[in-house]
Symmetry: C2
């Protein structure tokens, strides 16, 4: 079911390479062109046979493409779009995979040439690994991809992009960009922020050695190190571009944490037990919604 | 390599049942007696054939036992020890599996009859599942078990208990109880507290529905729901009995989080990138120390 003659991937990290492999596996395009800034990354992509043509210059990759996907960190989108805009053909769809959507909408919409369909997207999938070798075709299977099209964008184009993500195995949801940013602030961005934070705290203590933290990490800490091992540049850009929603959700987290801290201080066992019972039920719901494994300890084999 | 004629397990949840299965598998005892307060739990243990004798009355289980292990929540230890103390034979080892050690030492030491060797222990292993069915013999393999014996306790008894845990597959470390409590506050207790907290926060928002949190949990949030699904009573007792160390580490976490919040507020990309790069390296060290899987996403199959 070939959907496109040519897809251009700008950036070929974990997400870009997973899209390339998914497109290949499902025959969604006749040609995949790949652009990336670094020669070594481009060489890796070639070696893995992820595409049909390879470029260091992104404008060369987008010529004649029907679908162009920005797969670089969010902070690069504005400059890349300015640079490639004149070379995008009329009727093409320009989309992205960034974790932030209002910023992307605001910065990119004014740059989009007439006749180009711009649809911001966010496939909510990933691992803590980065780079072209980290990709795999099933990354998006069963995961949600959120599209945040402007009200003026062609419905047909939105339908095509929805089908594309469905063909990669995703569920698709169409959503307002501002609401998207709030949803991901709590389900993704603040979790990453506090994971980065506790890993930072734990590694710079005076009274507990870093070697002890590493040795005894199986008590819970090691779980946090997974998302705190995510790509630093990608995540820097997330926090630089979804500031308001992140700060709003972080404040709610801190307000609740102050209550919990107080409960520990005064030894309020009832409050603790009630919270810990309530949170247990939520994991069950996530498993039932098909968004988590049922096996103990993530099915981890160690 | 039978080490004991009789082992008594007081409590038969995840840890108790895993010990029972490990003892069986390695032939570490001729007889396992099991005591638990609830008839339904005792029935489950019987059905799973975890022991050789079963009691609702803990004093009956400890008679003639060479090794007695308290496998109930920490908050129950004091009353149980008072109750069983007169029935423990001279020369027996009394130990526990609680996550807190200074409290256990303080409360239990005055209750120990002369001639009984009391050695607090903490196998740092577990899953988010509870109850006799949750146990498995390999739970302790490659994990650390910390012993915090008083300076007056028999060295031979410590040696025997160390060998017992090694025979269950653990590495053993002998440590001061106060230091233990600080180490686990940062590697286990505060991670649990903030996981419980964010899951609580996320499930009671006004502007994001709980159904959305569940649906889009794969962005990072679902990781936290695992440890926030841990046994509520056990964890209530941890926070009631390791208050000072938890509050000390929580304060350090909050101090660092305030800095990170400020970096997001003012858009300090350098600070973010530096932290996120530093934390990535720590996961690598944990994998190299054999305390974590190398596979992306914990090897999770979903």
């Amino acid at each position: 079911m070939t959907m496109f003659d040519k897809i251009a991937l700008i950036g070929i990290g974990l997400i870009g390479s997973s899209i390339a492999l998914g497109v290949r596996q499902n025959n969604l395009a006749k040609h995949i062109s790949i652009a990336t800034r670094k020669q070594s990354t481009l060489d890796e992509a070639k070696e893995l046979n992820l595409g049909d043509s390879y470029f260091l210059d992104s404008k060369k990759a987008v010529i004649d493409a029907d679908l162009i996907i920005l797969c670089t960190p969010v902070g690069t989108f504005e400059n890349i779009t300015k640079y490639i805009a004149p070379f995008i053909k009329r009727g093409a769809i320009l989309t992205d995979v960034g974790s932030v959507k209002a910023y992307v909408q605001d910065k990119l919409l004014p740059l989009i040439p007439a006749g180009v369909h711009f649809i911001p997207a966010h496939p909510m999938a990933g691992t803590e690994f980065s780079g072209p070798k980290a990709g795999f075709a099933s990354l998006f299977t069963g995961r949600w991809c959120m599209l945040t099209p402007d009200e003026n964008v062609s419905e047909d184009a939105v339908k095509i992009l929805s089908e594309f993500w469905q063909n990669l195995g995703s569920n698709v949801e169409i959503m307002d960009a501002q609401h998207h940013d709030l949803v991901v602030a709590i389900t993704s961005h603040v979790p990453h922020l506090i994971a980065y934070n506790i890993v930072g705290t734990a590694s710079e203590l005076e009274d507990v050695a870093k070697s002890e933290v590493i040795k005894y990490s199986a008590g819970g800490f090691r779980d946090f190190t997974r998302i705190a091992a995510s790509d630093p540049i990608m995540w820097r850009d997330v926090f630089l571009t979804n500031r308001d929603a992140v700060l709003e959700m972080l404040e709610k987290f801190l307000r609740d944490l102050a209550k919990l801290q107080r409960a520990v201080e005064i030894g309020d066992g009832d409050m603790l037990e009630k919270l810990f019972t309530r949170t247990r039920a939520i994991r069950r719901s996530i498993i039932e919604a098909g968004q988590e494994v049922d096996a103990p300890d993530f099915g981890r084999k160690k």
